[in-house]
Amino acid sequence: MIEAQNLCKDYALKLKEPGLKGALKGLVMPGYKTIHAVRDLSFHIDKGEIVGFIGPNGAGKSTTIKMMSGILTPTKGRVLIEGRDISKYRKEVVRNIGVVFGQRSQLNWDLRLGESFELLKHIYQIDQADFDRTLEDLDQILGIREIIDKPVRQMSLGQRVKGDLVASMIHSPGVLFLDEPTIGLDVSAKYALRKFIKEINRVRKTTVILTTHDLGDIQELCERLIIINHGVMMEDGNLSEIVDRIAPYKTLVVEYYDESAPEHPGCEMTEHDGNVAKYKFLKKDLTAAEIIADLSNIKTIKDVSIEEAGIDDIIKIAYGS
C-alpha cells in the first residue's frame, strides 16, 4: 500500500549570527548549514493498518508525513502509494489521500462549513449520491449536522477539528494522514477523534498514519509504532513487542507497616520512601506472586500494587533521554 524507500530530506538553513554585525554579515555573505531532517527512512505499510509515528519535537515526523502526502519533495528516495511515486503523480495519487493537520485547517475561514464541503465535492468531483452518503456516515460518528451552517471562523477548536476530519474523508480516500490531530483538544473531542479513527479503519479499511505526542492516542489506536529521532528510525514494530523488548520489566510496589524494607535477590529496589518500597523485576525471570511470597516470608506486607512499564517509559528510553 505505502512504501517508503530511503527517504531523505535536507534543508538549507541560513546561519544567523547574533547582533547587528551578524545581521550585516548574513546580508552580504550568508553562511548555510544543511539540516538533515530525515535520513534514510524505509518502511512498508499495509492496507488497513493504523501506524503511529512518534518521536520528540523536531524528530522529522511531520516532514516524513508531508513527504508521504506529496506536499514536500524528498531530497533523496521516494514514496510509492499503491505502486505510484507520489512526487511524480501528485495530482492522481492525492485523490486517494486525506490529510489532517492539527495545527492548521484546510477549511475555508470565510465560508460556512457546508460550503467548504461543497467546494471539496467539486474539487474531488464526487457525485451527489456518494457525497450525501459519506456525509451521512461521518455525521453518525462525529455529529456535525449542528455546525454545518456555522462559519468556520466562529468555531471552537474541537468543532474545527471535527470539520477537518470530515473534510479529509469526504472523498473516501484509502489513506488518511493525521499530523498531531489531538493537539489542544479537550477530553471529549479527543474521544470523538479516536472513535472516528477506529470507525473508519474498521468499516472502510482506511489505512491511518498518525503522529502524536499523546500516549492515550497510541495506546488506543496504534497496533504498530514507528519511532523516529533525529530523522533516523529507532524502532518499527508491534506496540506490545516493542514494550516487551525495550522495557521487559514491571515494578512491584509494596507497602509495609514500618519504614524498614527487605531487599529481594531477584530484583532491584528502585525507591524506598517511608513505608513504601518499589521493586523492579524482569518479566521473564520472575512473577510478582513469587516476589510477594518471598517478601512476606521476611516481613508482614500491608498492601501491594504493580506498575506496568508503559509507553511513556518506552518513549523515554527510545528518545534516549
Partner: protein, 263 residues
C-alpha cells in the same frame, strides 16, 4: 474545468464577506483620477494635440485607466506568500488540482466580485467628476477587448511568476511593492510613455509593461492607425507567449521547492 469554475463561485462568495475592504480602492482610484485629470488639463492649456492625442481623449484615458486597474488586481503573489508563511500551502498541495489553476480561479472570482463592488462606482464617479469615457470608434471594440484580455493574462502571469519566488524566499513583500510601482510607472497607466523621451519610450516599447495598460487604452481612445495598433498587438501576443512559456517551465520547479513553515 468544472472544479475551477466552482472555485470562482466560492471566491465570489468570500469576496462579499468583507465589504468594507473594497471602499479603499474606490477612494484611491477617485483621487488618482481627479489629480491626473487636473494635471492633464493644466498641461494641455492652450495646446490642441500632444503626442497625437487631444485633451479630451486624455481624460478618457485617465478614467479608463482606473477602470482597467480593477481588472488588473491580482492576488496571486500575496496568496502564495501568505500560504507559505502560514503553512497552509500544505493543504493546497494535497488537492488533486493544479494549484496555479486554483489561484487563477480565485483571482477571477475576486475580479468578478469587484466588477460590481468597484468598477461600477468608479465608472459613475469618473463620469460625473471627470468625463464620460466614451470610446473613440466603436469599430475598435473587438480589438480593444482582445488586447484587454491579453493584458489581463500578461499581468497575471507576471504576478504568478513573482509569486513563485515566495515558494523558496518566503517573504516577498518588498518585491511585490517594487513590482507594483514599476508597473505603475512603466506601463503608461498614469503617464503614457509617448510623453517620455524617444530613447526611453523605445526601450519601454520592448518591455511587456506597456502592453498591460497603454496598448488597450490607446486602442480605446483611437490613437494611431490600424497598422500601428496591429503591430503593437503582435508584440503583446509575443509577450503573452513568452510569459506563458516561462510560467509553464517554472511552475513545477517552484512547487518542488516549497517550504512548509512550522509543525
Amino acid at each position: 474545468m468544472k472544479k475551477y469554475l466552482y472555485v470562482v463561485k466560492t471566491q465570489i462568495i468570500k469576496s462579499m464577506t468583507y465589504e468594507f475592504n473594497v471602499y479603499g480602492n474606490i477612494v484611491m482610484q477617485t483621487i488618482i483620477m481627479i489629480t491626473s485629470a487636473c494635471f492633464w488639463k493644466a498641461l494641455y492649456k492652450g495646446q490642441g494635440m500632444v503626442g497625437d492625442v487631444d485633451a479630451d481623449s486624455m481624460l478618457t484615458y485617465v478614467v479608463l485607466s482606473s477602470l482597467l486597474s480593477v481588472l488588473l488586481i491580482t492576488n496571486v503573489e500575496r496568496r502564495i506568500e501568505t500560504s507559505v508563511v502560514k503553512g497552509t500551502v500544505a493543504t493546497d498541495m494535497m488537492k488533486p488540482v493544479n494549484i496555479f489553476g486554483i489561484y487563477f480561479a480565485e483571482d477571477i472570482g475576486n475580479i468578478l466580485a469587484l466588477v460590481f463592488q468597484n468598477m461600477l462606482p468608479i465608472l459613475i464617479i469618473g463620469s460625473l467628476m471627470v468625463k464620460v469615457p466614451l470610446m473613440a470608434d466603436l469599430r475598435d471594440l473587438p480589438l480593444f477587448i482582445l488586447s484587454a484580455a491579453e493584458s489581463f493574462l500578461i499581468n497575471w502571469l507576471m504576478a504568478a511568476l513573482f509569486g513563485m519566488i515566495a515558494f523558496s524566499a518566503v517573504n516577498i513583500d518588498a518585491l511585490i511593492q517594487v513590482k507594483k510601482h514599476l508597473l505603475r510607472l512603466l506601463s503608461g497607466s498614469i503617464i503614457p510613455i509617448w510623453f517620455f523621451p524617444p530613447g526611453v519610450s523605445k526601450v519601454l516599447g520592448l518591455l511587456p509593461f506597456v502592453y498591460i495598460y497603454q496598448l488597450p487604452l490607446s486602442i480605446y481612445i483611437g490613437r494611431g492607425d490600424r497598422a500601428q495598433q496591429l503591430s503593437q498587438m503582435r508584440i503583446q501576443f509575443l509577450w503573452l507567449v513568452i510569459l506563458t512559456g516561462l510560467f509553464l517551465y517554472a511552475q513545477n520547479r517552484a512547487t518542488r521547492k516549497v517550504m512548509v513553515q512550522g509543525g
